[in-house]
């Protein structure tokens, strides 16, 4: 695929996304908004998993901190959504910086276990600090008040308004993460994934890079959390549970770990498939398990990886 095709494809997607906001009913808008939020979560996560090769079970905690940050700000300080998002993302970034500082000392299974432990410590705090977080009830009644920018007020209460609000963050995140992928920082991360010893010999401070990408992906998880708190108008403690961290993993794996656009495709397939499966069966988790097995055993490139492999074979006979 040459450059022009890529731009056409991107413009087409953007046009379709804007169009969806005009014509769709509330259900499709809700699903599309959820897909975009999941995309932000998964794209940020895949910087860590796909690009750097680190498996984290603690990102649900950063997602939840973003959500709780927004919720607490909106209940106690000010309901301005941008302020809430700013506080949510900052809190998530700071927390992931602190947790990452300890976690990046290890790799492989020890890294996964450390992120699990720290993530569950956050979950325990959210679960038990009832006076602040509402305990197992969570926090609810988060309103989508209009964004006041001095002279103009932009309402986001209606579904399509909020859809465009999320679309803005979505496009910005995709652009930013795409920049990160092709930046020297992003290339160094891929180098660390392929051979961290050689990367170290080449003069890269492997730990600092790992900490950097951990923090960045934590911040994106926080952004996704804040937006989802606005979408659902409530936050629940189980969003911090380790099993919620499996969601971006599944999404990235379905789409393709080693690709940039994998999580984008994966999110659409994940949410759409879940909606369809839930219509037919209560046991959608079973089918996701089977799908996951099939991908791990047969199609490790995911959807995007498999398609681009096929494309390459086809174009080079």
């Amino acid at each position: 695929m040459n450059q022009y095709w890529k731009y056409f494809l991107m413009l087409g997607c953007l046009g379709a996304l804007v169009g969806i906001g005009f014509v769709s009913g509330p259900f499709v808008l809700y699903l599309a908004t959820r897909i975009m939020i999941l995309c932000i979560f998964a794209l940020g996560y895949n910087l860590l998993l796909g690009r750097t090769g680190l498996l984290s079970f603690g990102h649900a905690a950063f997602f939840a901190i973003g959500a709780y940050g927004l919720a607490i700000t909106s209940i106690h300080i000010s309901a301005h959504p941008l302020l809430g998002i700013l506080i949510g993302v900052t809190a998530a970034a700071l927390l992931s910086l602190c947790i990452g500082f300890f976690c990046v000392r290890h790799t492989e299974i020890y890294f996964a276990m450390l992120t699990l432990a720290f993530g569950m410590m956050v979950f325990a705090l959210i679960w038990n600090l009832r006076s602040i977080t509402g305990g197992d009830d969570g926090l609810y009644g988060i309103s989508r008040t209009a964004i006041s920018l001095g002279i103009v007020n932009i309402p986001i209460r209606k579904d399509y308004q909020f859809y465009y609000f999320v679309l803005l963050f979505f496009v910005a995140s995709v652009f930013l993460i795409h920049r990160i992928y092709s930046s020297p920082f992003g290339l160094a991360l891929a180098g660390i994934r392929e051979n961290h010893i050689r990367a170290e010999f080449a003069g890269l401070s492997v730990k600092a890079y790992r900490l950097g990408v951990f923090t960045v992906s934590g911040a994106f998880a926080g952004l996704a959390g804040s937006l989802s708190a606005l979408l659902e108008s409530n936050v629940a403690p189980f969003s911090a549970h380790w099993s919620h961290s499996a969601e971006p993993v599944l999404v990235s794996l379905i789409g393709g770990l080693q690709t940039f656009s994998g999580p984008l495709v994966g999110s659409i397939v994940f949410v759409a498939l879940r909606e369809v499966l839930q219509r037919f069966t209560y046991n959608w988790m079973f089918w996701f398990g089977v799908l996951l097995l099939a991908i791990i055993i047969g199609f490790r490139g995911g959807i995007v990886g498999s398609i681009s492999d096929a494309f390459r074979k086809y174009s080079r006979p």
């Binding site: 998993l49 090769g53 498996l55 300890f102 000392r105 290890h106 492989e108 299974i109 020890y110 996964a112 276990m113 450390l114 699990l116 432990a117 720290f118 569950m120 410590m121 979950f123 325990a124 705090l125 679960w127 038990n128 380790w242 099993s243 499996a246 993993v249 794996l253 770990l257 209560y282 046991n283 988790m285 079973f286 996701f288 398990g289 089977v290 996951l292 097995l293 791990i296 055993i297 490790r300």
Partner: protein, 288 residues
């Protein structure tokens, strides 16, 4: 005060023994196969449900359930190792972990499909149903039985691994797979055997939990696998001695935690896990 201390200790030890039965298999499988199996908690759950099913079908004989349930689970373990895990040994860690995670999703929903999503009750065991008076308070006989079973299993494992020919082969393959292969050990078969044995241990734990927990839920596997993770981390991945002591620590910590500081109980347990990983990643009780 002394009374309640004794009872909190006993409750902690009996809870720790269930974690031990799961953690022993988990750490054994990790030590030999180098795979951390998320689905190990599902074997615990399957063991419990299958024991319950046998119990229902065979007119309430718990011991028959305890015998047959885990045997079926070890067959399931064989299928999983032979036809799934074996395909991913050469892959990177995320794929291995996620494969076992996929099995958790599948097992959970299979149990829901077969037995329904709700919790099911479980009966008392004839012969072990009463309670005895310890330090002036009643304590269930069954929990004492559990406290006895744990160390017996530990002794059995020690004997099996350290004193028998089979144990030597297992230890040899764990420490050097290539060498074991080259001197003619059938390592793939051994892997299957160890995995089946681990699954069996976990399922025995689950079956024993049927009268203990009183209610079976599909979440019981996920609950115990996290405790077992904490335990094997504290004890050192692959160390059985560490897993035994770790189980006691986690069991006691959570029973004292729920008794004296219910707010901090979960936080402290995971905090301990993180601290051990940071300062002694080879585990508290690992040699060397």
């Amino acid at each position: 005060m002394l009374q309640s201390l004794v009872h909190v200790c006993l409750a902690g030890i009996s809870a720790g023994m269930f974690i031990w039965l799961v953690a022993s298999g988990l750490t054994l499988v990790f030590g030999v196969l180098r795979v951390l199996n998320f689905a190990h908690g599902s074997f615990y759950m399957l063991g419990a449900y299958l024991c319950f099913a046998v119990l229902k079908a065979m007119g309430g004989n718990f011991w028959l359930g305890l015998l047959l349930g885990p045997l079926v689970v070890s067959m399931v373990g064989y299928v999983m190792e032979r036809y799934l895990l074996r395909l991913v040994y050469h892959l990177e860690l995320p794929y291995q972990l996620l494969l076992t995670f996929a099995m958790v999703l599948i097992f959970d929903d299979l149990v829901k499909m077969i037995w329904g999503a709700g919790s099911i009750g479980s009966p008392a065991v004839p012969g072990l149903s009463g309670s005895v008076s310890i330090a002036g308070r009643e304590f269930p006989v069954y929990n004492l039985f559990i406290i006895a079973v744990g160390p017996l299993v530990a002794l059995g494992l020690y004997g099996l691994l350290e004193k028998t020919w089979w144990g030597r082969i297992v230890r040899a393959s764990a420490s050097d797979r290539e060498m074991a292969l080259s001197i003619g050990v059938n390592v793939p078969l051994l892997y299957s055997g160890v995995f089946m044995f681990g699954a069996w241990l976990s399922a025995v734990g689950g079956a024993l939990a049927v009268p203990y927990v009183g209610l079976l839920t599909t979440g019981m596997g996920e609950a115990i696998i996290i405790s077992a993770f904490i335990v094997v981390v504290i004890g050192g991945l692959g160390s059985l001695k560490g897993a035994f002591l770790g189980s006691l620590i986690v069991g006691l910590l959570s029973s004292f935690g729920t008794r004296f500081m219910p707010m901090l109980d979960m936080f402290l347990t995971f905090g301990l896990m993180a601290a051990v990983l940071l300062w002694r990643p080879q585990g508290f009780f690992a040699e060397g």
